[in-house]
């Protein structure tokens, strides 16, 4: 048995002995091998077929699969939204709590980049943390060289360039996180930019990243954010996060809220506890109202 099994399949086919069962096993193994090969081929055909092995390779239809896979990593993470209003920016993050043993407020997903700049992230948290460090260094160097706050467009361009650099080489993988940058100052007003793993950055009035980004975008589009103030917007942001949170799949979550605007004198801060509680209460009440109104219709 040992001898026959050790030899390659082609040899087995030629051997005719009492090991008919072995023969069949071999055939089966062969066909299994073939089946597996076909399966693998089919799977890879759908995805990349060897064009997805490194970021330095294009596919025949002009895609860089590694970057697209990085964006899928972002879609696996929970939602983060940022909205710009007439006098500031508000960030809201749905932070899923995987265990009751976690300390409240740990693993923050909103970072302070400079006094006047905040960053909300979605995707691989470790990648996001290292990018936050990069952004901090950029902002700090700018301040040291030029003597004033870094303009947000410039910061977002610089960090986007850095993220893009990691999509060019096979020796590194792209960053698996998207992030939203927001700032406020008296002269330029409120600004909001989003950077994704491909290294593009766009300016927005409102944007969402993460698993429920489509649903969140729909809700954001309903808002008249250009006429709202930060205080009104905080409640709406909390409400959107509560709406897009999936009670069935993900159980407990912590809402992280932060803002920067005229109300904070241009400093990026976490929303104070009392305002946050008020916003969460408003969000929960609105959800109940909607549930009630659904029942009435029925």
């Amino acid at each position: 048995m040992d001898k026959t099994l050790r030899r390659g399949p082609e040899r087995q086919l030629g051997v005719k002995n009492d090991t008919k069962s072995v023969f069949f096993i071999n055939i089966n193994v062969n066909s299994l091998c073939v089946c597996v090969c076909v399966c693998v081929c089919v799977c890879v055909c759908v995805c990349g077929l060897q064009y997805d092995l490194s970021a330095s390779t294009f596919s025949p239809d002009g895609r860089v699969f590694q970057v697209e896979y990085a964006m899928k990593a972002v879609e696996n993470s929970s939602t983060a939204i940022g909205i710009r209003c007439k006098d500031g920016i508000v960030f809201g993050v749905e932070k899923l709590v995987l265990s009751k043993l976690y300390e409240e407020g740990s693993n923050k997903r909103i970072f302070n980049i400079d006094r006047h700049v905040g960053m909300a992230v979605a995707g691989l948290l470790a990648d996001a943390r290292s990018l936050a460090e990069v952004a901090r260094e950029e902002a700090s160097n700018f301040r040291s060289n030029y003597g004033h706050d870094i303009p947000l467009k410039h910061l977002s361009d610089r960090v986007a360039m850095y993220v893009h650099a990691y999509t060019l080489y096979s020796a590194v993988r792209p960053f698996g996180c998207s992030f939203i940058l927001g700032s406020y100052n008296k002269d330029d007003g409120a600004q909001l930019y989003m950077v994704d793993p491909s290294g593009i950055s766009y300016g927005y009035w409102g944007c969402a990243i993460g698993k429920a980004k489509q649903a969140a975008k729909t809700e954001i589009e309903k808002l008249q954010m250009r006429e709202m103030t930060c205080r009104e917007l905080v409640k709406e942001v909390a409400k959107i996060i509560y709406i897009v949170h999936d009670e069935v799949k993900d159980k407990a979550f912590e809402l992280e809220l932060s803002w920067v605007g005229e109300v904070t004198n241009g400093r990026h801060e976490l929303v104070p506890k009392d305002i946050k509680e008020e916003a969460e209460k408003y969000a929960k009440d609105s959800l109940e109202e909607e549930d009630d109104s659904d029942e009435d219709n029925m």
């Binding site: 040291s144 060289n145 030029y146 003597g147 004033h148 467009k153 410039h154 002269d187």
Partner: protein, 216 residues
Amino acid sequence: MLGEAEPQWLSEEVKTGTTIIAIEFNGGVVLGSDSRVSAGESVVNRVMNKLSPLHDKIYCALSGSAADAQTIAEMVNYQLDVHSMEIGEDPLVRSAATLVKNISYKYKEELSAHLIVAGWDRRGGGQVFATLKGLLTRQPFAVGGSGSSYVYGFVDAEYRKGMNKKECQQFVVNTLSLAMNRDGSSGGVAYLVTIDEHGTEEKVILGNDLPTFFDQ
């Protein structure tokens, strides 16, 4: 061979002895300088323009060692060009002054130049910054160079807040004239640069057109 000394201007460092002044008004700044470059006791250049552009609406006034000051001005001019392209808009006067300050401070042992940076930008209007020996401070007006010692009294007494453009220009010309009269290292003609929202205006006032005071 004995007793034959080398001409002084070969051995002395070339300094822009100088009087320089910059003052801000509501909506812009006025910069002024004399035009004498001396090497010891010889005048090497009697018509040098010591007001050097750093950007369209930001100028600096040079004093101290001529080479050091010019080099700093050229370096900062280049850096501001790159910076304004990166941020996509005109640079702030504070950025220009910070760049000058960073060089002056980092090389403060090797350099001996004092630049006064003044200009107009969208955010802060007219601004004047002094960067002596690596400090950075914003002031309503600033004087510098060897001739400035002779006119501190005059500027302190005559400066008033809220002067308009014409009054500022007259103030600058008067100050330069007095300093050039008393300081051996300042003289020649007076250069004036006025910067405001609408543009930059350069003017030369020849020696005989300068205002005269007691004993002139």
